[in-house]
């Protein structure tokens, strides 16, 4: 096993990796940009090294220099930042530092989404039907030819990102170019790459994803499936495992397809094979995510397998040590992303100082976070504050508990999406488990929450009004007193 691992990330995932290292007796080496020196991942590490300045977390050269200077056995890049930077992975491989991930060869294969789909379809697996290549926005003529071949309606997608951002449907020939311009602009803004590709439209009913683990000795197993259909502001904020809307037969078929694909690409470590399921129940491969994910929290709770630990063990050359039959998929787990953002003001991100932070507890509730009372949410980084995971023996038990946990979770000082998450888990389609990708289009934030006693709130608000008038203090910062905020867009990571 490794003696020393560089955690090449920040925030909750860096904390998560430090914990996994310490639980294995591995020394965890943190890095920090100067502003982040007091951050939790630094405090909890065995060793901490300063990076040169803002932006260094994204600098593969600087990260490699630290890895070599400190003399680590391996680097865990987490997700985002440099986790899927092929140049970084190759440079590490060249100097004999293990990168905990798929290896540069597999990484390049799976990052080419059109190629990965073609390779998969070539062995007879149903996939979505994309154009033969990606296009720059000025290749209008070539796009039209492919579009006619695919037929309308079709979907324009960003080549560099995951599904969601930059995805738009095109119903006829005339609309193609205006939509391409829009998609391409969004792709440039979100992912730093203006290329788009076309795909045959299908009535996607659900997004189903299968996490897999593969070791260096030919063992590849799946860990059940998750439903990732619910998105808000084009992000997955909540999900569950197992997926509620598919039959046991479908489930087992999807697992088998996922294993077949994982073997085809020679997956090592942790990865997720993603599918869309159409309204007839057929599943189609879309892409492979070759990294640890926020969503893995739900998988960890139904399997009791620590997936970061497994990543470390596999990368260190240990055999998995158990077979598919020994993986017990037990109960139901849900995960929520808690973001520092204001869903009521266009998802405006909300950096600042956390004045109170009370996380839910009790049985079968887990929170992974870098935050605590008194922590800062820096302005330079992603808005993910915390991951909440909840487990129940049955879906009903899990639902009751996720309700309860979201009610207990209280954060002040920065805005969060907790209010939105509470609305989602109260939504009848979510409770019934009958939601589809369409459900995310319905607005949730219009009506008042059903079970608040408004008269009581009126009394409390009246008292707040009186006490604030009495203690009026002109030095109180007049946050959000003017301006409206809309259409926040993700920048390239």
């Amino acid at each position: 096993m490794f003696k020393k691992v560089l955690v090449a990330n920040r925030g909750e995932i860096a904390v998560r990796i430090v914990r996994a290292c310490r639980d294995l007796g591995i020394a965890a080496v943190a890095v920090y940009e100067p502003d982040d020196i007091g951050a939790l991942h630094v405090r909890l590490a065995n060793e901490a090294h300063a990076l040169s300045g803002p932006g260094s977390y994204r600098n593969p050269d600087e990260m490699l220099a630290v890895a070599r200077r400190v003399g680590v056995d391996a680097v865990h890049p987490g997700y985002g930042l440099i986790s899927e930077h092929p140049g970084f992975v190759r440079a590490c491989e060249d100097v004999g530092v293990v990168v905990i991930g798929p290896g540069s060869a597999v990484l390049e294969q799976v990052r080419n989404k059109i190629g990965a789909v073609a390779q998969t379809r070539a062995v007879g697996i149903a996939t979505t039907y994309p154009s033969s290549r990606a296009f720059a926005p000025d290749e209008g003529a070539a796009m039209l030819v492919e579009a006619e071949a695919i037929g309308f309606p079709l979907v324009v997608k960003a080549h560099a990102g995951g599904h969601g951002r930059g995805t738009h449907i095109v119903r006829d020939r005339e609309s193609l170019m205006p939509v391409v311009i829009r998609s391409s602009g969004a792709a440039q803004a979100f992912y730093g790459d203006a290329h788009i590709y076309l795909e045959a439209a299908m009535t996607a009913s659900r997004y189903i994803e299968v996490p897999v683990l593969g070791d260096n000795y030919g063992t590849i197993i799946h860990l059940g499936e998750r439903d990732g259909s619910i998105q808000r502001n084009t992000r997955k904020v909540i999900g569950e495992s197992p997926a509620p809307g598919i039959s046991q037969t479908q489930r087992e078929q999807i697992w088998q397809t996922a294993l077949q694909i994982a073997r085809l690409f020679g997956i090592r470590g942790a990865a997720t094979i993603e599918f869309v399921v159409d309204d007839t129940g057929q599943h189609y491969f879309t892409e492979i995510k070759p990294r640890i994910q926020v969503e893995h929290l739900a998988t960890e709770m139904i399997t009791r397998i620590d997936l970061v630990r497994e990543q470390l063990r596999i990368a260190a050359g240990e055999p998995l040590g158990y077979a598919q039959e020994q993986v017990r998929l037990s109960g139901v787990a849900m995960f929520c992303r808690i973001n520092a953002e204001d869903p009521w003001h266009g998802y405006l991100p909300s950096p600042g100082h956390i004045t109170s932070f009370r996380i839910p507890g009790g049985p079968n509730v887990r929170v992974d976070t870098y935050a605590y009372s008194g922590a800062n949410v820096p302005v330079h980084y992603d808005s993910l504050l915390a991951k909440l995971g909840v487990w129940g023996a049955t879906r009903e038990e899990c639902l009751n508990r996720v309700h309860r946990a979201l009610q207990e979770f209280q954060i002040s000082g920065v805005r969060t999406n907790l209010g939105l998450l509470r609305l989602i888990v109260n939504d009848p389609e979510f409770v019934a488990g009958t939601y589809t990708t369409e459900s995310s289009q319905r607005p949730l934030m219009d009506g008042p929450p059903p079970d608040d006693n408004l008269g009581d709130l009126a009394a409390v608000v009246a008292l707040a009004f009186l006490s604030r008038i009495q203690s009026a203090n002109p030095s109180t910062p007049p946050a959000f007193t003017s301006g409206w905020y809309r259409d926040s867009r993700k920048l390239p990571s």
Partner: protein, 164 residues
Amino acid sequence: MRKIQVTIDGAEFTVEVGDLSTKDGFVTATVNGVPTRVAVSSLAAPEAIQWAVVDTRPYELLIDHDLRWTQSPRGRHTLNVRDMDAGVARPASTDARIKAPIPGVVVRLLVEVGQEVVADQPVLVLEAMKMENEIRAARSGRVASLNARPGQSVKLHELLAEIV
């Protein structure tokens, strides 16, 4: 006795509040004629986690600094509050100034000084937390000043523009 009008999600309540400093910590508040006993944590601190017990019903709440909204563990409500005797109201009438709601970097200006804008029209784009955020006018009027240039870093609450 103070008389406060509170509108929550469009529903109007008249709240009469009695003596604020009682022995047992419970204040009597009469809501639309129905008396309730209310105990609360210190409500003066804006946007801290607050607790309240109304008769036998416990609550936890976040209450917006400007009393625009309150968030209970069940969801979120929009507010409007008016002191029926003194005429003070919250939220205060819409401000002419557009301030930076978060620190960030100005990416683009979308209006010019002297230009007429309508409420909700994008005024500039502010980059923060890996997002481009459109900052919009809270009211209609003429752009009297623009205090930011593209590429400029702005602090929290820094004045960006004025609409008159």
